[in-house]
Subunit: 161 residues, 2 copies
């Protein structure tokens, strides 16, 4: 699978920063971090990881495929929930060690296993505000888009303490 | 320093996901990934890391302070370049292991050491497009906002092969 896609070797800083060859850098665990935002709203939906195979599959399919660190499997997002992420743009950063996916989410538009639209549904006060309010988190989404029990049933919760 | 700010201990999944206590999870290196977007445009500016002290300082100052993995120092963004990132919103995700900073960039508005506005200035073709065009990266920014030589002089380039 994905035998058609080959990444370039990293040879010089100029090639990596200013060239047009895709030469991604995977970390010591073979992973590259991925930032996924909603194409229309710009909202941050997820922060996840890909390995080499996941990145190749994402490019091939035009749909987000991650590497699940908790389950240690390739994770075609939406395979369980139906909330497939169609890739509208895939960007790579200056030193090619981070991916930015801009996606349209199919189905109800939720991306978070807790049931919210975004995984980032709580705000931390900063600066002067902290002095007044303390560190108490403020919810920016108040209603869930789906009930996780209906979608995931008894599957184990991915959150680790 | 930052002695006023204390994070909560992580006790239950419900507390972490649905509570209003800030109980961030740092990885085995003591770091938490941070996604930084432009408050106005929603554009992804950076993907970086904070340690506990950097997160506390960011909350205290209301300005982005990261941990530089390449230099192994606290990194008050903009201290060299003047391009300070004012935090308009700091959000944390469901399992509290990722930070989303929404910032206004002071000065010229650039965030990338190569001189572009965003670090993500190249697009990778996906799906059908790849079959037509191959994997050649396409520049989404064509003009640099600043000349890195003027700003950083002879400081070593942070990009590692």
């Amino acid at each position: 699978m994905s035998e058609g896609i080959q990444f370039a070797a990293r040879t010089t800083v100029e090639q990596v920063e200013e060239g047009n060859e895709l030469a991604p850098k995977f970390d010591q665990d073979g992973l590259i971090p991925v930032v996924t935002t909603d194409y229309t709203s710009g909202e941050l939906l997820m922060h996840a990881y890909m390995n080499e195979e996941a990145l190749k599959k994402t490019i091939e399919l035009g749909e987000a495929v991650y590497w699940s660190r908790s389950r240690q499997v390739l994770w075609h997002k939406g395979a369980t929930s139906g909330l497939v992420q169609k890739v509208k743009a895939l960007l790579i950063d200056d030193d090619q060690d981070t991916i930015w996916l801009r996606v349209d989410v199919m189905g109800g538009g939720a991306s978070c296993h807790v049931g919210y639209r975004s995984c980032f549904y709580r705000r931390v006060p900063v600066g002067e505000e902290t002095k007044e309010k303390g560190l108490s988190l403020e919810f920016t989404e108040t209603e869930k888009v789906f009930d996780p029990k209906d979608v995931y049933g008894d599957a184990p919760n991915p959150t680790k303490l």
